[in-house]
């Protein structure tokens, strides 16, 4: 994680699936500021909306707490950044904190080249998704 401004810590989830420890990124930017030109590996969270061809369109940048609040309301959010694993981990954490469970789905074959994998609650209520970027798929 060269140049990363974050740190990885482990938290224990108590959601209905009881998956045990989950990893999450926390912001330690004041302790370890990224060097100039370094890759910003820490995931960033945005409001999201759905565009054409399955695209996930980024809106305003938001905090994790704001993302969890939006997900409770059934709104869309997206986790962005170059580190696939960190994005996935944070997306799961947002969904679980907001709605008590997380289920991951890969993009459907016909969802379009800009579709992103996503989390939603196991029962799919509330509606909406926590999308996340991968090495190959990015929000627009």
């Amino acid at each position: 994680m060269e140049g990363s401004a974050g740190c990885l810590h482990t938290a224990y989830s108590d959601g209905p699936r009881g998956r045990g420890p989950t990893e999450a990124w926390c912001n330690m930017s004041s302790a370890n500021p990224p060097s100039a030109g370094a890759v910003q590996a820490q995931p960033l969270i945005y409001e999201a909306s759905l565009g054409g061809q399955g695209a996930v369109v980024k809106g305003n940048q938001i905090s994790q707490a704001q993302a969890e609040s939006l997900r409770k309301q059934g709104k869309e959010v997206v986790v962005c950044g170059p580190d696939h694993k960190a994005n996935l981990t944070l997306a799961k954490q947002i969904e679980r904190n907001a709605n008590g469970s997380d289920q991951l789905c890969g993009p459907h074959k016909n969802a379009g080249p800009h579709a992103l994998p996503h989390c939603h609650p196991i029962g799919r209520h509330p509606a909406g998704h926590t999308f996340y970027e991968t090495d190959k798929r990015k929000a627009v």
């Binding site: 998956r19 045990g20 989950t22 990893e23 399955g54 696939h84 694993k85 996935l88 981990t89 289920q103 991951l104 789905c105 890969g106 993009p107 459907h108 074959k109 016909n110 969802a111 379009g112 994998p117 939603h120 029962g123 799919r124 991968t134 090495d135 190959k136």
Partner: protein
């Protein structure tokens, strides 16, 4: 399912994040392999199946019915009542397009999606499940592949949210969608 398998779906949901990331790469590979394979028989697909295979995304559609018989329970002017309970009303202009032996009815937001299948003679759809169907069932992934022995005979494999898999042996299918409320208002 040959490409978007239950095992791959499980790996995608692995609590081991490294395994989930590896499964994502395999998922992308499955999409490419399926689309490449589809190119070898796409011209043999009937139009409805080609549309399903190449264009339609029913991921997370709520399943209102998946019945092994054509369960029209009565004609009400231009409408046909179809299971489940309460019945879903489908315009007769849709169901009259094919003497279907299997109907799948799905809801995506305000739209009702209907797939009508004409099945092979003597081959039943296969529903693989090992648990009771939950109150709400959702479509996850699907793939259409040719039968290895019979020309122009196909399988539509569908993975549902309860992890059941439906394998539909079909020779033709029709896919249609309509806004139920708008149709009802326009027909009075």
């Amino acid at each position: 399912m040959k490409f978007f398998t239950l095992d791959l779906y499980h790996r995608f949901n692995s609590p081991d994040v490294d395994e989930a990331v590896r499964a994502d790469a395999d998922w992308e590979d499955a999409i490419v392999r399926y689309k490449n394979y589809l190119q070898t028989y796409r011209d043999e697909l009937p139009p409805g199946a080609k549309k399903l295979a190449e264009e339609v995304n029913l991921h997370d559609a709520e399943v209102l019915g998946r019945d092994f018989e054509y369960l029209a329970t009565g004609f009400l002017s231009s409408w046909v009542n179809v299971l489940p309970q309460p019945p879903v009303q489908i315009p007769y202009t849709i169901v009259s397009q094919m003497p279907a032996q299997l109907v799948i009815i799905l809801r995506v937001a305000d739209e009702i999606n209907v797939i009508l299948y004409s099945l092979w003679n003597g081959t039943e759809p296969k529903l693989c499940e090992d648990r009771p169907t939950p109150n709400r069932l959702y479509w996850l992934y699907d793939e259409i592949v040719p039968d290895q022995e019979r020309p122009r005979h196909f399988w539509h494999s569908i993975l549902f949210s309860d992890e059941s898999t439906l394998e539909v042996p079909f020779i033709d299918c029709v896919y249609l969608k309509f806004d139920a409320e708008r149709e009802r208002k326009s027909k009075g």
